[in-house]
């Protein structure tokens, strides 16, 4: 479904601040995959997401989605079939607008016309969707979204994202800014939606246990490279200790080969 071919990204090329955020990377995401991505800060996880979402173009390489070359397609075009949720709950909703207005904006993607679509039937539909969240938000349809808590806003963002039935969703540490209880709730909700609507998903997380528990495939990134890609049974038998262990093994092997080359 998504195909990255020799994709790399370098920031500030030719200056002292040059950073290789992503080194030449190949990645094939299959339809229905639920991929979790781990790695330390600066490993290139968010760069990978930004490239897939189209926030900026890659320095080199080709990105294909459903066999179409989208390397130069701007973010707002790709957003028609990609849903993305950020770490910051503020980025998914418009705080000074009401719940129902927010849901209306997200109901259908693409350019909006001069139609008034928010009618009673639509409101009832939104209300039913909110009841499913079980947070009592259905009684607050006319409240401004900024009055909601971070967890509520993130849950609402998730709901609004699946309303438009995206082909791919990118979850960018979307529970990192929430307290443990809300984080667990939002994560469970994500899993529910992914299963219910068969969404192809990529999820960045800092929590190794979550990375192991969720999804069918796990990527580990370090220094702009994907250093580990496991799926299926191999993934389900992973443990946190085993994961840390493998990380050190991979990195030591490289270190040794570097030393061998230098000596």
């Amino acid at each position: 479904m998504i195909h990255l071919q020799q994709v790399s990204k370098t920031f500030h090329p030719g200056t002292v601040n040059e950073v290789s955020a992503l080194r030449s990377t190949d990645l094939e995401v299959r339809e229905g995959d639920f991929i979790t991505i781990i790695g330390s800060n600066g490993a290139g996880k968010s760069t990978l997401f930004n490239l897939v979402a189209g926030a900026y173009p890659p320095s080199s390489g080709v990105i294909r989605i459903n066999d179409r070359d989208v390397t130069r397609e701007p973010e707002y075009r790709r957003a028609a079939y990609i849903g993305r949720i950020f770490q910051n709950p503020m980025l998914g909703t418009a705080g000074s607008m009401t719940l129902e207005d927010n849901m209306m904006i997200c109901y259908r993607k693409g350019f909006k016309g001069l139609k008034i679509s928010l009618n009673r039937r639509r409101r009832e539909f939104f209300q039913e969707q909110l009841i499913d969240l079980g947070m009592g938000l259905e009684r607050r349809m006319k409240d401004n979204v900024k009055l909601l808590s971070g967890g509520q806003r993130q849950a609402l963002t998730l709901l609004m994202m699946v309303l438009s039935r995206p082909a791919l969703i990118l979850l960018d540490e979307h529970t990192a800014a929430l307290d443990p209880k809300n984080a667990a709730m939002v994560l469970e909700l994500s899993r529910k939606y992914v299963e219910e609507y068969q969404l192809t998903t990529m999820m960045i997380t800092h929590n190794m246990q979550h990375a192991i528990d969720y999804g069918n495939r796990l990527l580990m990134m370090d220094k702009g490279e994907i250093i580990l890609d496991v799926s299926g049974n191999e993934k389900s038998s992973l443990t946190v200790e085993g994961l840390v262990d493998r990380f050190h093994r991979i990195r030591r092997r490289e270190l040794e080969s570097d030393e061998a080359r230098l000596s």
């Binding site: 701007p74 957003a79 909703t93 904006i105 001069l114």
Partner: protein, 306 residues
């Protein structure tokens, strides 16, 4: 006197609605207003003098403002210039363009010409005195524009425009090109401003290329005063409060003009007063938000205590 304040308030209120769209809804501080206001006035004046049908002349003024706003938005979108600078560029260029439109002069009188206002006065002559006829006309115009704006901001496009100033990333995530939204929003805003300029030219009886000077500050002051009068998140009330704010602002200016001499004020001091008014409004709203924050803090501390 009262009818004069009301007429001015509503007339410039149309301009303030435009300023409200850019400053408050789009979060795009657009200074081209200082150029598009006289643009509307000069287009109207030249059309009236040349016998263009009045309705067409109004449409031309609106279209001129729309184009001016589109230029500002395009400079900002394509050259990635800060929006303030883009507005100043358009405003500066419009000064020359306005003089060109007037045929290389700085003003054009409309005395003894048939304008919309003189027609309205003639039409309502049997029942109303001229100044009240003008007031009735402007109540109708301002309300019509207000209602049209309210409807527009209930459409899917209008809602998305509303989200734009709040959260541009959300708009992008919904598959909408933010550049188009800025173009539409800034264009609409300047169209309204130019329309207001067209009415101002007819009301004053002349068009002058300098009549837009610091009009943006007047618009901003009106918007801010309005925000003290009413608090709501419903667009229908938001537009009403802009018009009310504009009327109050004109009232204050009127007092300054007619009674200011008791304290040695001259009309030249009005801009200083407007500026101080805005600074005062900013201070009060800062104080208010600080107070409500500390109130929330106290509340949550109390709630946290056993």
């Amino acid at each position: 006197m009262v009818e004069g304040i009301l007429v001015e308030g509503l007339l410039y209120g149309i301009m303030a609605l435009g300023v409200f769209i850019t400053f408050r809804i789009l979060d795009f501080p657009d200074l081209s207003v200082d150029g598009s206001f006289p643009l509307g006035a000069v287009i109207m004046a030249v059309s009236v003098v040349n016998g263009v049908p009045l309705a067409v002349a109004l449409l031309l003024s609106f279209g001129g403002g729309l184009a001016a706003g589109a230029v500002t938005a395009t400079i900002h979108n394509k050259l990635k210039v800060p929006n303030l600078l883009a507005g100043i560029l358009t405003m500066t260029m419009l000064w020359s363009i306005n003089i060109r439109i007037l045929g290389n002069r700085a003003n054009l009188p409309l005395l003894r010409q048939d304008t919309i206002l003189s027609e309205v006065v003639a039409l309502l002559e049997p029942i109303l005195a001229p100044e009240w006829a003008v007031l009735v006309f402007f109540i109708g115009v301002a309300l019509a524009i207000k209602v049209l704006l309210d409807v527009f901001f209930h459409t899917d496009l209008g809602l998305t425009l509303g989200a734009m100033g709040d959260n541009q990333q959300m708009v992008v995530s919904q598959g909408v090109n933010p550049e188009w939204l800025k173009l539409i929003g800034v264009g609409l805003s300047n169209g309204l401003v130019a329309l207001s300029g067209a009415f101002a030219a007819q009301y004053q009886g002349f068009a002058d290329v300098n009549m837009g000077q610091s009009i943006i500050i007047a618009g901003l002051a009106s918007v801010m005063i309005g925000e003290f009068l009413l608090n709501s998140n419903r667009i229908g009330l938001l537009t009403v409060r802009v018009l009310l704010g504009s009327i109050v602002y004109r009232g204050i200016m009127f007092l300054g003009r007619y009674y200011g001499y008791h304290i040695n004020l001259t009309p030249n001091d009005l801009r200083l007063i407007t500026g101080l008014l805005i600074i005062g409004a900013l201070m009060v709203s800062r104080y208010r938000s600080g107070r409500s924050e500390s109130a929330r803090l106290r509340k949550s501390l109390r709630a946290g205590a056993p």
